[in-house]
Symmetry: none
Subunit: 205 residues, 2 copies
């Protein structure tokens, strides 16, 4: 019996995926989480009790903690469970960061439903399940942005001013503007809005 934990913010989709996996006799859905933070709590707590999930299937874009951050944390704290990313976005940057975060699988929501159970089994056997089309693209374009630039850009994209961002990240306003300027330059655009859009589109956020 493979123990699976599901993290996905859209309740309807979460419930439906759960129903899908419950049809498989060798899979056991031991938990569902509506955001990354909840998934982390559940995983960690269960792991301490010795009945943690074998596989975490997670979306990327979720409130509080993204799927990528969740994967990273699971690896850092050595929880010992595998992670499969299940997302809408075929962005090379996402896949790359997912691999850096040590995930074992990366599936698209566009893929046929049967692939999910198959991927879970494959990963559980110690294999990897990476969408083949995407795997190719991932090593072509490279990611110019560093962590700070990403953070700052993300906040700027939500409409925060340099001052706001500085407050939130405990930096000075000038530094924030420098990072933004850097990011704008690296991406070859002319203001923060375009930088945000481009970075987002390329999956660099």
């Amino acid at each position: 019996m493979i123990r699976v934990l599901l993290a996905e913010d859209q309740a309807m989709v979460r419930g439906a995926l759960s129903a899908l996996l419950k049809l498989e006799s060798d899979l056991d859905v031991v938990g569902c989480a509506a955001d990354g933070e909840e998934a982390w709590q559940l995983t960690q707590r269960a792991a301490l009790d010795g009945n943690g999930p074998d596989i975490v299937v997670t979306d990327i874009e979720m409130p509080k903690l993204t799927g990528l951050e969740l994967a990273q944390r699971i690896r850092e704290r050595e929880i010992g469970c595998k992670v499969i990313i299940l997302t809408t976005f075929a962005r090379p940057g996402f896949l790359r960061r997912a691999l850096d975060a040590g995930v074992s699988g990366y599936l698209l929501k566009d893929a046929p439903a049967e692939q999910l159970a198959e991927a879970i089994r494959k990963v559980h056997r110690g294999g990897r399940a990476i969408d083949p089309q995407l795997a190719l693209e991932a090593w072509s374009g490279d990611d110019p942005l560093n962590d700070r630039e990403r953070q700052v850009l993300r906040l700027a994209g939500e409409g925060m001013s340099a001052g706001d961002i500085a407050g939130q990240l405990h930096l000075s306003q000038g530094t924030v503007r420098n990072y933004l300027s850097e990011a704008i330059g690296k991406l070859g655009v002319s203001n923060r809005i375009e930088a945000y859009r481009l970075a987002r589109q390329k999956g660099l956020l």
Copy 2:
């Protein structure tokens, strides 16, 4: 037995929803479509054979034919089956257009999974199933923005400067800034980025 047809472009989600509905003993998933056009073909053909679906559950954003267009067509050709929209987007503008197209239900993918089956039954009995939170907004929050403000905001949201926008719309730079200022004020935010995000989120663009 309620006959249901499912239209949703993401294969994984489509399969999962299908699994979810198959758990209900009084529901029968008689077809799945990956886009609006396919859903229309299936619905129409089955209707001619006298075994058309009672309910079509459809996403909005799909290739070829959107869920809204599908709903409209089903009503125009008097197929005689009900439509339930199932979408990510809580935009009052979408709901309004959906109602105009004669749909019987409008659910969010954020809603709990159980609601889908309930909504289907309710609509089959002749009722309506509109997300209550959304229903309020749709007729309360009426659109504060005028055409110019919308245009300008849309372009600003793509990263264009006041000067760029002025060029594109054949206005003066100052006028563009005035419109932006107006829009920012009406939406109660503090810069163009937030204004864009809010307007977009409310479906006003």
